[in-house]
């Protein structure tokens, strides 16, 4: 165990490029993320192209930054989010996620123990998703210049040649499927925020979706649209599909799976579960004739055991999402103006 990184808090020295930083990298990051692409510690990871070409014909490349507050919550932390979020952004293209980067901006005074805990979560999440963290960067900024820790992960994956998934591919007649309960992540963050004084056992749904997507694509290779519904909830993603595909999406309020505790929190705070954030929820739009097979496959997968068909695509009114309410009426589900809650991921 190295003496430098056993100091209790991160100091400016840890970001200076000097010995303290090297100790921190080898003790915390290398020890956890160890793999043959990372270990040479070059300024870049060097990836063999022949291996990529064997999987498909397009590189999927994405990046996301994670600023969630609080850092630790029921069901996950900023580290699990940083892996699963980027893995899922790759996977919804149909890509096999392969390599991630990890860049951290840490506020001076941050507890080393918390950093270890976050890195440990990232290691477990990466193993669960079958990806490697192959390069990274650490910056330390003065107290007040960042809030505790911000993490950016970029990722690459490879898309098999036969897949053509896109938000603009939805066609009238298609069915809309979700892989389980909506709004758990948003509700877990609300529960973790002490200022709201709501006690709840709800856990974030933070999970990788790549294995579920791979299973779905084997029975339904012609999936039209796939997206993970994070910030802005399923309402936002459905609007993105409706606009990009120039169609109307009609969903049934009674068909959408929502935990009763989540409904309760929403009732109290005046929120709508359709706009609550998720971190492991997939919206799939599939041709009607494959919907039942797709649903059965998703239900059989651990990440999709509460999957449900929640609606369908119709021609008009174009670019609109309509909800059939449990009360028997209809209303439009628009994009959210502003955030229901800030810094949820």
């Amino acid at each position: 165990m190295n003496s430098q990184s056993d100091t209790k808090t991160i100091t400016m020295a840890h970001g200076s490029g000097g010995k303290a930083m090297h100790d921190l990298i080898s003790d915390i990051f290398l020890a956890s993320f160890d793999n043959e692409l990372l270990s040479p510690l070059e300024d870049q990871a060097q990836i063999d192209l022949t291996q990529l070409i064997a999987i498909g014909n397009r590189l999927a490349f994405t990046t996301d930054s994670y600023v969630v507050d609080p850092l630790f919550f029921n069901g996950g932390d900023i580290g699990t989010l940083a892996i699963n979020g980027t893995v899922n952004d790759l996977a919804v293209s149909g890509a096999k996620p392969l390599y991630l980067t990890c860049a951290m901006i840490i506020e001076e005074g941050f507890l080393v123990a918390d950093l270890r805990r976050i890195v440990k979560s990232m290691k477990s999440a990466a193993e669960a998703a079958g990806v490697q963290i192959v390069t990274g960067d650490t910056k330390v900024v003065e107290r007040g210049a960042a809030d505790k820790i911000f993490i950016n992960t970029a990722g690459v994956g490879v898309i098999p040649a036969h897949l053509k998934i896109g938000a603009n591919q939805a066609k009238p007649g298609d069915k809309v499927i979700i892989n389980g309960l909506v709004g758990d992540h948003g509700a877990a963050i609300i529960g973790a925020r002490k200022d709201l004084a709501i006690e709840t056992d709800i856990e974030s749904d933070c999970q990788p979706l790549n294995d579920l997507i791979a299973a779905l694509l084997t029975v339904c290779p012609d999936v039209h649209c796939l997206r993970d519904a994070t910030r802005g909830g399923i309402a936002t993603v459905l609007n993105e599909f409706a606009q990009a595909s120039n169609v109307c999406i009609k969903i049934d309020e009674t068909a959408i799976p929502v935990r009763s505790e989540v409904r309760g929190i929403c009732e109290i705070l005046g929120l709508d579960p359709l706009y609550l954030a998720n971190e492991g929820k997939l919206l799939a739009i599939v041709p009607a004739e494959r919907a039942e097979a797709a649903l059965a496959t998703m239900l059989a997968h651990p990440t999709g055991s509460q999957s449900a068909i929640i609606g369908e695509v119709v021609e008009s009114p174009e670019e609109v999402v309509v909800l059939r309410t449990s009360f028997g009426g209809e209303r439009v589900i628009d994009m959210l103006v502003g955030d229901q809650l800030p810094r949820i991921c």
């Binding site: 709201l196 309410t325 449990s326 009360f327 028997g328 009426g329 439009v332 628009d334 502003g338």
Partner: protein, 386 residues
């Protein structure tokens, strides 16, 4: 979910709608000459849109969405006063979240916060009091707004602050009252309303008595209603039934919450701390006599208007806005000349587009009517061109 789903039962809704339909036929109302029923409260407006109640009702009933959204009706000058307070370096300005986006003449509280003002979102005035205890070197100003529903909690917070002897806590009081506003609507020459669905939470505080004048003097049926969709349908049914039976009464549908005499403890706290202003300016409706509330002089130390200087300007509503006409039911939201074009929930110009409880925002967000769709697509075209 228990205690919620019972009030959203679609089968019971169908039954009520059939009852309403037959009464409407009996009255002889039609799509061309509909019964106009105003739900005063923004909370009711929100439920009506959220559950699509308007489309379930017969076309011979037209719902007029009233001014009961305190965020919406706050005049621009008062928002500018808020900003002036929030931008003072010694001040922590505590506010309910939905007030953050209300436009002032130059900007809103969200923009002021981005520029460095210390604006904190709270869920209760007691949270603001806690901020005052934790930050003895700062001045904590709570942005108090709302109808009678929120007045008891504000009043009790002032009493608590007085008891603790807190020196760094004050209110910017923008409370408004329901009754003079309903009266102003009833006195308006263009008024066409046949009956009212009265605000349930306000009534929980004030009781049934303050609404008697609507039935006795103006001869209009009025029913105090809860906020679940079945509450509202049942209240509409009760209003229509009164019309059919040619009765005018204050009826209480929200018996599970509203006592006849209201909440005496709350009323006592309000009477101790507050008094009526002679006039209060409303966005969209102009000045209404005795509709505003201020802090009594004996609690002046907790009155931000007493302790801090503010611009205190009267700023006219944007000239293109037709909020007043929408509020009085003489036009529908989408008939306003700037609905969906210059005035949207992202950049609200008029009062009723500001909060999700405002009628225009509700139509814009939830409306599935061809007219609303047309207004929205006009906006998209104009955005593309520019």
């Amino acid at each position: 979910m228990k205690y919620v789903d019972e009030f959203r039962d679609p089968e019971l809704a169908k039954h009520l709608i059939r009852e309403i339909e037959s009464l409407v036929v009996q009255i002889g109302a039609s799509e061309n000459e509909p019964l106009q029923i105003m739900e005063f409260c923004g909370g009711h407006t929100h439920t009506i849109f959220r559950y699509g109640i308007e489309q379930l009702l017969p076309k011979a009933i037209e719902l007029i969405h009233g001014p009961g959204c305190p965020v919406c009706v706050l005049p621009m000058g008062r928002v500018d006063d808020c900003l002036a307070l929030a931008e003072r370096p010694e001040v922590i300005f505590a506010t309910f979240g939905d007030a953050m986006r209300v436009p002032g003449s130059q900007k809103n509280l969200l923009q002021a916060k981005a520029e460095g003002a210390d604006v904190r979102m709270v869920y209760s005035p007691l949270d603001a009091l806690e901020l005052a205890r934790q930050n003895p070197s700062r001045e904590i100003i709570f942005f108090a707004l709302g109808f009678e529903t929120t007045m008891p909690s504000t009043a009790l917070t002032v009493l608590q602050a007085a008891e603790e002897g807190l020196k760094n806590f004050s209110l910017f009081c923008n409370h408004i009252t329901t009754v003079p506003t309903i009266k102003a609507i009833l006195d308006s020459p263009s008024m066409r309303i046949d009956g009212f669905v009265a605000p349930g939470h306000v009534s929980m505080v004030v009781g049934e008595e303050p609404f008697q004048f609507v039935a006795c003097e103006y001869k209009k049926p009025i029913v105090i209603s809860g906020f679940e969709p079945l509450d509202i349908l049942q209240s509409i049914w009760l209003v229509v039934k009164q019309i059919a039976e040619k009765r005018c009464l204050v009826e209480n549908q929200y018996l599970r919450v509203v006592e006849r005499d209201g909440n005496p403890v709350g009323l006592k706290a309000m009477a101790a701390v507050f008094e009526l202003r002679e006039f209060f300016q409303w966005r969209g409706l102009g000045a209404i006599e005795h509709s505003g509330i201020k802090i009594k002089s004996e609690y002046a130390q907790f009155d931000a208007e007493h302790r801090f200087t503010m611009p205190n300007l009267n700023i006219a509503d944007p000239s293109l806005c037709q909020c007043g006409e929408v509020l009085q039911g003489s036009i529908k939201p989408w008939q306003c000349q700037i609905f969906g074009s210059l005035c949207t929930p992202e950049t609200p110009m008029g009062a009723l587009m500001v909060s999700s409880e405002g009628a225009c925002a509700a139509y814009y967000n939830f409306g599935n009517l061809p007219q609303v769709m047309a207004a929205k697509s006009n906006r998209e075209q104009s955005t593309t061109i520019s």
